[in-house]
Symmetry: D3
Subunit: 337 residues, 6 copies
């Protein structure tokens, strides 16, 4: 089977054990994560070949980060290693009750941020690919990261590979001189599928709900498609927050014709809040390639995402039979012998 290829930064994730606060920490759990790489890991765990492309420092942490993804089946042969740089780090403190989980980034000057676009031979990296995925975080990192991302999208378009993006607008990440609204439209223009919520649409494209026949999200989706004719599907999730460890989750997909949605999952206690969106898109890629049915793909995606919230770490370590059982309504967590 052809590969799903993803591109983006991978960070070291250092999280306090249990519900400990940063200031109490005597040790930190080590994981690795990145929005795009997590999609590759999710897809690989579901049995579809996946390759992640990134840049690491040529030190033990770069090696360890690659190893972490390789462990769960991601092809890491396209990773570039640079000299004398650092790996980005994010610190995670897990919240409880009304205390929020907290992410503290320490990613400035990472090997990814300082990448040289000419270091990536996209023709070769995408040669055996059927799908290319990135997120709005990649172009936010640095001018060169944005440039490499654009080259990847353009190459994928030329090779006829499906392109998806989680537009994931985070204003405060954009520190290199341009805003997301200046950069993202050109990238989204090359996408076949995007994950994009209402807030993203307003921030990136200035698109808000129009008064008229179409309500809410449908109105927004139609405007996006008008502006970006290549975009055929628009996904989003609706997350309800009861407490730091109690959320609800529903998936939605605008197919160009209709707005599909799923059941709402109750998630309590969530074991890990991070990577839920990546599991959702990884699930949708699997579902699309497997079922050729948007509703089924969306159901699979949302079940996979809900299930992922029960797994510690960034990775969606959930298998096809497990997700399908959830899809089919086995959601009461009965002991399986």
């Amino acid at each position: 089977m052809k590969s799903v290829v993803t591109f983006g930064e991978i960070m070291m994730r250092l999280s306090t054990p249990g519900f400990g606060r940063f200031v109490q920490a005597g040790s930190l759990n080590v994981n690795f994560g990145g929005g795009e790489a997590n999609v590759a890991a999710a897809v690989a765990y579901l049995g579809i070949p996946a390759r992640h492309v990134t840049r690491f420092p040529a030190n033990e942490w770069g090696y360890a980060a690659a190893a972490a993804y390789r462990r769960y089946g991601v092809d890491t042969s396209g990773i570039v290693f640079g000299e004398n740089e650092r790996i980005g780090v994010y610190f995670l403190e897990t919240g409880a009750m009304l205390r929020s989980s907290k992410v503290l980034y320490d990613r400035a000057g990472s090997a990814f941020a300082t990448l040289d676009p000419s270091g990536f031979d996209w023709e070769a990296l995408l040669a055996d690919a059927q799908w290319f995925h990135f997120t709005g975080i990649t172009p936010a990192i640095s001018a060169t990261a944005a440039q490499a991302c654009l080259q990847a999208v353009q190459t994928a378009n030329r090779l006829g590979i499906t392109v998806s993006a989680d537009v994931n607008s985070r204003k405060n990440l954009w520190q290199w001189g341009k805003t997301s609204a200046e950069v993202m439209p050109e990238l989204v223009a090359g996408c076949d599928l995007i994950v994009c919520g209402k807030g993203d649409a307003e921030e990136l494209f200035g698109i808000t709900e129009l008064k008229g026949e179409d309500k809410g999200f449908i109105s927004i989706c139609k405007q996006i498609q008008e502006r970006f004719p290549r975009v055929k599907k628009i996904l989003t999730t609706k997350r309800g927050s009861v407490s730091a460890t109690h959320n609800t989750l529903m998936g939605r997909c605008w197919t160009g014709q209709e707005l599909l949605q799923t059941t709402t999952y109750d998630m309590m206690p969530m074991i890990d809040r991070i990577g839920g969106g990546d599991a959702f898109l990884g699930g949708f890629i699997y579902g699309t390639l497997t079922y050729q049915d948007d509703q089924k793909a969306l159901d699979f995606a949302t079940a996979a995402s809900a299930l992922k919230h029960s797994v510690e770490g960034d990775f969606s370590l959930v298998s096809v039979p497990e997700v399908e059982a959830i899809m089919h309504g086995e959601t009461t967590g009965k002991l399986s012998r």
Copy 2:
């Protein structure tokens, strides 16, 4: 006081820490457990002498397993040690939310499965006993285990000792040539009390609800008693599953005359799902020997079982005052100083 004697396999329990998945495990917690032995441990912790009979390999794990039960007061002097064999293992992954807890058995070829019935001198093992207990798992393990179990029941009957069984039908365990429906009736015929749900009754005895005056469980109990006149009481629990860590529990007892039941306990977060049924029966044995009142015994049993779900490991490490407080309605978990 005379002893409660139990007979059955004890396995090594290797569980992932916290809510970790098997594939992530860097370490596994070590416990030991077995349905019958857990009843002995529950009873011993409640202050009644208890002895467990089983067969172990003569290696460190056999010794450690015996030590684990001895620690909490179970008399292990009746355990037989064989050469060159293994201890059965079960791996446990604790679920969360809609992800089920998962048990993976690795028990083939264990020292218990390969036991020689002549190795057990039941006259001696039951000499100071007042109660003998086994479960439907024991005869499922192997032909010789079934044979030893039958000899124990027959000896207990001859010595006038109360016999109980948790019939616990698990079809896929029966791999040695006979089915549970072929073997269990002869064993149940020697019982004074059984734990048996609707599904068990159908699978083992082909007994289903009759249309008529008696409804549901009562109808089934009456038929069981007709078939097995020695059986005087039939117990069952009704478990509701909201999620992997949120269950509800109610106990029921058919006394031959009436169907007693208890309040329903809300159990959230369950700390350990395993051994709840064993704590229930251990509690009922204690209650029966202490209160001479079926309702009180059932209330004690169900409170003990609910409380056990808050304790990690197979063992019901709950004391008489603690269970009685629950029985008397102290169920809000207020801090005790």
Copy 3:
């Protein structure tokens, strides 16, 4: 800014990891705690200078206990170290579901219990103070502790320093010859603010609700003020217990004129039940000194206390911006990046 000074015993807190029972413990987590010192720690973490006065044995545990408070900003220069004594210990087993958390005290003969009142130079210890706080536990420990406490209150009164007490009546602690009802009134007479619930009022002062215009708590507060004219504010919290890890919390403050109260917080899963009341008073001190508005002070206090229940250990490691966010309704625990 002038200091908040507190006086009372600090114990070593040895708690089972996770939800383990005492009898299973292979290790115990080490923390330190004491009702008054916890108030100092809360206040210091919120940015107000705080000093705690106590007596420790001159051994490693005394040093470690002082270090634990110093770590979070408490001035420990007023601590007295004695010879050949022990530090008091309390063992904590964290409950789950309907199983209560359990505290087992082992504090007899501690360095604090055997203190010599002449060892504390209150003029010096309170020289730069604006607030003095103690609890009803301090005079319960021993005759000399009660005596030292009274000297502190009298010195504070003389120096014009605000005095507060959490009257915290625990009958079974009073083992040195007098009862709380004999000792506490003289101490409360020197207080400007007390934390005192209905049960405390009855036990310590024999005050119960009067039939008449004023209902419930208001009636009690008015009687307290009549008896103790210096007392200007009376605080209490209303805690609801659903299970060992699920409580609700509301704060109340009688201002002399009216009974203020807050929203009710739902706390699930509580990470640590201990120290909630200390965080409440620490928050009220901060709020009073900062806002000069009783309702705001009470809102801050209750939010701080709710938040504290999400932090392991006795200490209220919650910052001003975090508490203010809760005060302003951000209670759904959304991920903060």
Copy 4:
């Protein structure tokens, strides 16, 4: 086989993990230990019935301490449980290099110290015994402990049971009014075998080396036997200290006729320094009962003690085949498959 019975205090042992210092401790490992009980555990692990007699508080720690010994085969049925008391505690910090391991006692007011001698029915407790053992620590604890110990020795003498004592002189432990030199002689007079080094002999009996034919230890042993004619064998170990984790060990036995000694074991890295002497005497009891040969018994004892230094905790968890392999010179630690 008849039992070995031991009598003495059991303490909770709280030790820092790894080589951590007390002041750094975030957790403490929980074990239980006591000089006499450790002998019982050693003997039981070697396959000889053993019973320990002591007094515990009737709380979870008393139960847990009994469970810890029962786990490894010690009969705990003779233990007395009292009300409202505490278990003694000793804190252990493991040294490294030139930094000593450190023991901090917190045992005042324990359930054992406050025992009532009439609570022990020695006739019954020694009914099936072949050997009674105590140490010089037991009478040091309190007057009543000394009294109970004397009653036990006298009963054993009357019943014709072998009596042994590790005289273990620790001056600073004797706080109840008498010195060891006042109390121990009467107890030693009832012993058949003692462990007693040169320092002990001087401190307890005022016996020092006489100038003459006999050198060193032999001279001392002869004087002891003259004074205490019942004493037939005198044991001691010679420990060399290179560093906190590197010791050497040799065993010696005066048989009344000659001074036997063993090879010197090099112990590096020692995993646990505590309980080495108890393992030595436990090994000697096993050896005496098994080999009827003093040299073999001494060789077994010393090998068992050396091996014990490789096991964490107070208990000598070493088996007969393991000790015999050491005895026979297999001391290079080759991997065993």
Copy 5:
């Protein structure tokens, strides 16, 4: 570069933490290991493509075992997954001082033991290979494992691929009907290089030192080469055992002309005794392919093996620069910044 391909069983390795004994274990560390797969991991970590071929159960442990090797760069695409079987387990207790480390095998009935030789397409599995390696353990497991191994060797010979074997004679492993002496010669006849000590040579081939010009190992090597003309090099290591954590190591290589040897490394404290031989051969493969100089290859191999003893787990996680530094005499472990 072409691959190194290895074939053999991978087991789950469950080891006690620190120096804990099996009977004390509250948890076990999880690793995976197998003599041949460890060579693949060593080679891959040194930067040479490596593929391991084996058979696993199609359950989480099979997946996790493959993931463990994939993590460190081993190509796992040639692994076969079967149904309803188990993974072999070995338990490891780490010794200290004169207490040996202990391995307890529980590998009967594993997915590897029950393999079907027709499940392996050796033409395909070796298509891009330059080296094939197996050990004497593989044919010991079962008749079908021996058969598959022979097919692999014959295919490799036909394809002109270098073949190596660590003959590793373990008599008690051969339980399927034939002895190592009956099976191994045919396999060794297909080898270009073997690891074979004196004991192995006698046990497998009946070859012992001849009196004459050639001494010791040289005499044996010459006879082996006479019998097996394809064998061009014979390797062995000389291990000295001071204690369980203190060994010495020297490497030897008979080149057909001369006996090369290395410096002797002092290894104290050894962190992990397992996998030292696999690191040695992995290092020799790397050295041979890199240096084309037997002495250098041997020096690299021995340095890699010594270094491996400092790494926990079966895997030789040591890099080329690290090994080369040791080769060049940097053996004093100075802090590297």
Copy 6:
């Protein structure tokens, strides 16, 4: 007593547990450390007031780092907190045998490196000081750090405060445009005491041994004093490296008149290699202020340093009585009860 004031960067120290390699790490232990701050901690633990001056980011890690030093008695009131920056990190992998411990720095762009010299009011910071200490690492970090350091030295000189420096030449740290040889002389000119080895002297001052009467270190010291007349004492340590966990240590002090030296300590197993030099200087400061005897001060310093190698983390958690016992020859690590 007047304070010892130190100035320099504090980093977060993230170390692998036990002897784990970076690539294996599932968690990292959290400590904080910095060469100058460690001296402050050592001095404070020995009972002398100490203040550390540095700059931290105004986030949880800055707060936690300050708390870590405050815990052990260091006055952190002079620390400056900046916005939007990071704390420097160093990763530590503990070596074993011939595998070196490894430090991986990630300190670029830290809050300290980007400090503004005008943020430090040295007149105030040194107002109550008797000693100021820095190391050659501080001016290596950045131009502004070098500038602030020079201002501190000049202020101290003006106020008549003793100034010491550990010149600690690390060429590869100097990345901001100047070399150590360009910057250090001006700083050393203001020092009364320096720690300076042969290599440092050559690298920083171009001073090498002169042929003539004076040998080795003495020759170098005399030249240093000629060049820097304020320097009255020159210290150094002589470390021998047997393996990663086995070193030897001797201290030397040139007093201007003679070269004093100490006994050589054997350190095995070293628990922590980091911070040994800081403990040495901290000890020397204590010794100088206490004994007014250079040999005693040097003996204390070296004993303190040796002892520190037994303590995990950067901090010298060793007390005066402990160090004095080592000084007096109690170096065999005998159990202390």
